[in-house]
Subunit: 493 residues, 2 copies
């Protein structure tokens, strides 16, 4: 007779339980949960007036802004699954996702008008600009007062290193458990405030909104990443936790110089790819509490995080699973031994039900008893700590030996003259493949490939040291800031 | 493809995730999660050697002790639902619960040997004394590595208006959500430690064990309540949170005098009945952070708790629901208005599936959509704060123990000299309330209160035996022949 599957609407519930707590800070505006709820209800009535009704799959193409939050919460109040679009994508990529997700409305902003007009032409989607909504009527609607944890909350597309992007279905339950797992791992303090400078359309950003509602803590929302402003906020104690990716942290550390963060700052949550050991070491020296995490869109953000007591002893590890999650390493269909490299396989209530309309991919990636094959490569050490080596597709095989680019990149990046580096496989008559390195120098430094190879030699087996070195001005990256290794290969021909 | 219903065994998981964190402190012993897990596995192997196997419903009759914890965790590792028996009950009461719950093993201690021997005679239950286990063999068994949240974790008995106790089925999910709801409300700090001086066989005590495993924090376990020792522990900062009932807090405050607790002490969680405003005021003046809560065995401890920001403005309120719980007031079948008194009705994933083998009671108390009629009386103010007026019409709460008049009346009425009997609560400085009996003799029989008390003793736990006996000519009754308990109370003043 218990009802595990339903719970009160998170925002309505916060407006009831803790109406006067701070909920959202954006530029010079601050909203309590009561105010945020009232604004979101107003936004929902306006969207209703524009024709949006319960069950309508609605795509959103917006920059980080208070309005983005209101739109998202309004859609939850109406009861619309949301397709979160990445603003850095091209027209073609967006049109694909709109078609593929079968979204019927698009909420965007005038800044993206030319794109939106094209999208409308390509897909016929009904478009609403947030700027129109200011003057819109308000029409009452039936408010969703309870969330069913099985229901679709969001759909986010994976960057798709292999083939076409896939829509990851994220249920309310996925997001809920993600928030709970994070709290059990990082703790929850009265004065907590989470700084969001990552995009709200990614799992890393959206999950901050969920945590805000579930924990009853404020989101300190930034329009875009600005290391000076963010460092200022952290020095002034305006946030206790921030979510970052490596490149953000590097810029923040560079800007921070000799200054230090407020003692109330307690968690630098870093995800979205491997973190160079050299950067972790700098943070350790500066007493910056870095929590390395491993997660993906399919796990609604973190699934593995390094706990405070292990952050120093296990530098470079992604840590251990969230409390109710499980992780194992699969090597050719059987469980790998400690320290043996294989595919990372995960399980937990934060893991997606699957990709939208992708039966084949779902069959490939999910087992009947709830395990998800991530496609990522790593190992567990004898203490059960996960070390993420690389994305499987990047694997370089040379003379029968497996080479994982990230391992080499870590070494190159630890050289003070290097700003960015990426390693890919290069065809080789003798060995099949050999590694080739692309690098970007820091501050106009001058360094040759020969010097770098020499620098690597003490750290790497001979077959791992790149055989070719190419200096470039900037690494090509995807909209979500992942290095496009495939585009690098054209430099080789 | 997600698996909401299963998660790793809590203790095994803690031994993996945070092996070196402190898990249990008892007297001068301290165990880490790794040690606690190893000891519990050893205990499980011993219990296996004694014939306990997966699925065996096992009753436990033990005093608070490290061994009690090991037995409970061992039974979870083997996979046995546990019937938690109150050590203050009489033989007859215990025999009823063992029969009713269909338990096949009893784990107890030599201190209760005479009771256990009788129980074995009455019910034929297989008995194991914890003292025997020290020298027991260890036999391997198939460890339960995953908990199914739907499975029965514990059964705890509550009495009720009918007088016959009912076994409350508490699933792993009920306990899990209770722990999560508490964390979202009270927060979770690295240095947290929860002091347990309430019995582990009650929801208040057992829930501390669950929180310890789910949060990864230590339990500071006390054999019994001792205000001097507990005050010392809180002054020395050995615990940050403690669960108490009113009579405990009163004794603690009296003993504390002008001294103060460590600044790290952050939560005095008080439940199990009404708290006098005068006591709350004293605590406010002494800056003791009192969190008043409302809960019951059926909700696996708290369901409503006063959050920090409201604790002063709403003195006397039990607060607002845990995040995923809902509370409403039912007045004659419809929702009550703010400030209107009615029956308290609750819903949430921490609420029991129902009473074991009590179809009628389940039909009466649970709706199909998950609401539980508590039988308690209260109101919600215009801000949605719950005020509990009265527990289950005539419930007597004495030192945190629930006493149901009907149970006592049934015993008194079984005496041939008695025609009518009614039991009500009488104010008591030490215990809050103690039971007082009114009786009418049959056929001019002569019998004293002392004789009746003696008659009750084999049937009733000591705290249930009325402390005052008043003979009257007739019980005051309503037109529909119900005893007017309220009119009886005037005899007490």
């Amino acid at each position: 007779m218990s009802s595990l599957e339903k719970m009160p609407n998170w925002l309505l519930n916060r407006a009831y339980l803790t109406p006067n707590r701070k909920a959202l800070v954006f530029k010079d505006k601050e909203l309590t949960f009561k105010e945020l709820c009232d604004y979101s209800l107003s936004m929902a009535r306006k969207l209703t007036a524009c024709g949006i009704k319960r069950g309508d799959r609605t795509a959103v193409l917006l920059n980080n802004h208070m309005d983005f939050v209101l739109v998202l919460y309004a859609l939850q109040l109406i009861g619309c699954p949301v397709v979160l679009l990445n603003v850095r994508l091209t027209n073609r990529e967006l049109a694909f996702q709109i078609d593929d997700s079968e979204a019927v409305h698009l909420i965007t902003q005038m800044e993206f008008e030319s794109i939106a007009v094209k999208l409308n032409g390509q897909t016929g989607i009904h478009t609403i600009y947030k700027e129109q909504l200011i003057a819109a009527n308000e029409v009452d609607f039936e408010i969703v007062t309870e969330f069913n944890l099985q229901d679709v909350c969001t759909i986010m597309y994976t960057s798709g290193t292999t083939g076409f992007p896939k829509g990851v279905i994220q249920s309310f339950g996925n997001h809920w458990w993600s928030a709970i797992g994070s709290a059990l791992n990082l703790g929850l303090h009265d004065q907590d405030a989470w700084l969001a400078a990552v995009p709200l359309f990614h799992a890393s950003g959206f999950s901050i909104l969920v945590r805000s509602m579930v924990y009853g803590i404020p989101v300190i929302l930034f329009e875009k990443f600005d290391e000076q402003q963010i460092n200022l906020a952290l020095m002034e104690g305006k946030a206790t936790i921030i979510s970052v990716v490596t490149s953000m942290l590097q810029n923040m550390i560079r800007d921070l110089g000799e200054k230090t963060y407020s003692p109330s700052f307690r968690c630098m949550l870093i995800g979205g790819g491997p973190v160079p050991l050299s950067l972790l070491q700098v943070c350790k020296n500066k007493n910056i509490p870095v929590f390395q995490t491993y997660g993906m869109t399919e796990t609604a953000s973190q699934i593995v995080t390094l706990t405070p007591e292990d952050s120093l002893a296990k530098l470079g590890s992604a840590g251990k699973p969230l409390f109710f999650c499980q992780v194992r390493i699969d090597k050719d269909g059987v469980a790998a031994m400690p320290n043996e490299i294989g595919e990372i396989v995960v399980k937990g209530p934060n893991v997606t039900y699957g990709y939208y309309n992708r039966e084949d991919a779902n069959k490939r990636s999910f087992t009947n008893d709830g395990w998800f094959y991530t496609g990522d490569v790593g190992y567990m050490d004898e203490d059960g700590f996960l070390f993420v080596i690389d994305r499987r597709s990047d694997l370089i095989i040379s003379g029968g030996e497996n080479i994982y680019p990230a391992e080499i990149e870590n070494i190159i990046l630890s050289h003070p003259a290097i700003k960015e580096a990426a390693v890919i496989g290069m065809d080789d008559e003798t060995w099949g493949q050999v590694p080739c390195a692309f690098y970007v120098v820091a501050n106009n430094a001058e360094i040759s490939g020969e010097q770098l190879a020499q620098f690597c030699q003490p750290h790497l087996a001979k077959y791992k040291v790149p055989k070719k070195w190419i200096q470039i001005n900037e690494l090509p990256k995807t909209a979500s800031n992942k290095v496009m290794r495939k585009s690098l290969s054209k430099f080789l021909s």
